[in-house]
Amino acid sequence: MSSPIRVLIAKVGLDGHDRGVKVVARILRDAGMDVIYTGLHRSSEDVVNAAIQEDVDVIGVSMLSGAHMTHFPRILNLLKEKDATDIIVIGGGVIPDADAATLKKMGVADFFLQDTPPDTIVNSVRTLVEARGKR
């Protein structure tokens, strides 16, 4: 039987804006996914530990604080350290295009910045998980 895609949605660091990320959580829920929301002010370590225990397919991190060049690389490195690179990392929030391009090269699978339509997010998550295959 097909299993619902599991997504961990996280806010990292000193960023208290979670309206957008809650909307994304709701969009993914309405697409039939299991969404685990960590709440505000998590560390990169918290996020990776939670993602492993929850066995999620995808980590979605929203950053509006400007600290994305610190936290995304840290999350990617921790996943490597813990032998968990099958977990897909996506990002959202306010992130300059040049930084997004750099982070994509480092391993972030996709970014959903402001004005991304809900369908685009859902389809991208499904496509990424399908492309990774069963694990």
């Binding site: 039987m1 299993s3 929301y37």
Partner: protein
């Protein structure tokens, strides 16, 4: 894909990735994982399983965090299975129990798993006890099952745990609520959360009055009422002691055998129901559905034929 049988050694060694993966497979009714889960069952039975239930917003997740933190200081390894509801329409879920438990994240002696109900009624989800087994086999010796926020009649958790805690929050309903049948009857221990609030004493009083009138499930165990405040930490140590007292009571009185048999019986029945459900979903549904919809077969006849096949 790693075969599930190859995850066993990792689970027994407490490797979190393998524990997590096997729980996912159990949750998705994956036949492939069954031999592995069956094999692990022989490594279970060591953990003390605590069920925590109560209405939405009564403070279950916050209490779980406070209890787990206190139990960690005593060197226990804690497994937590936190259940939240699935949408009846999309099937999706938003699980937020971790939000209250974030202080526990990063402690390798704590494993938290969120699970969605996926259509199960009764406060648990179908695979909750598979998850408990995997955690038990992985060496977590205190396992807490946090049910979805329940109403008055979702009492399945009592057939899953050794010690059942019912959390009541002050200010919700009067003493009439306390004399109704249902969820309040299943408690081995009553917890009144948020007991720093002014009306908490009244809730404690109402519960105690109810208990005096009650015919307890077990004549030798009168369910205690413990007031807690996760914010100030008040009552958490006492609650942990009371849980241990109940555990000791079950073993010294021999009542643990009744509990274990009750859990086993319930699990066999639930699993059999699930196997029938899966058979229906996977193979036979189409023709039976049409025949029942067109009044050629009654629902009972269709179900009977499905079972006979």
């Amino acid at each position: 894909m790693i075969p599930s049988l190859d995850l066993i050694s990792g689970v027994l060694a407490g490797r979190q990735r393998d524990v997590a993966r096997l729980i996912t497979r159990a949750e998705t009714s994956d036949d492939e994982c069954r031999p592995a889960i069956n094999a692990l069952y022989h490594h279970t039975g060591k953990a003390h399983i605590i069920g925590i239930t109560g209405v939405p917003g009564s403070g279950k997740s916050t209490l779980v965090k406070a209890l787990a933190t206190a139990a960690r200081q005593m060197g226990r390894r804690i497994g937590i299975v936190a259940i939240d509801p699935s949408s009846p329409f999309s099937g999706g879920a938003i699980m937020g129990d971790r939000i209250r438990m974030n202080d526990l994240s990063g402690d390798p002696g704590v494993f938290i798993r969120s699970m969605a109900t996926r259509g199960s009624l009764g406060g648990l989800c179908r695979a909750a006890l598979d998850a408990v087994d995997v955690l038990d086999a992985a060496g977590y010796d205190l396992i807490i099952i946090e049910t979805v926020g329940v109403g008055q009649d979702e009492v399945e958790v009592v057939r899953a745990s050794h010690t059942t805690l019912v959390v009541s929050a002050p200010g919700l309903g009067d003493d009439i609520q306390a004399i109704k049948a249902g969820i309040l009857e299943i408690a081995d221990i009553h917890v009144v959360s948020k007991c720093d609030k002014p009306d908490a004493q009244r809730t404690i009083g109402d519960l105690k009055t109810m208990l005096m009138l009650d015919m307890p499930r077990d004549a030798n165990w009168m369910p205690p009422v413990v007031g807690t405040s996760a914010e100030s930490g008040k009552g958490i140590g006492e609650l942990l002691k009371t849980i241990q007292t109940h555990h000791n009571y079950l073993y010294t009185s021999g009542r643990i055998q009744d509990r274990l048999r009750m859990i086993a019986e319930s699990r066999i029945l639930k699993t059999a129901e699930e196997l029938v459900r899966l058979r229906f979903v996977r193979h036979q549904a189409g023709s039976f559905i049409a025949q029942v919809a067109q009044r050629q077969l009654s629902p009972y006849q269709a179900a009977q034929q499905l079972l006979d096949e």
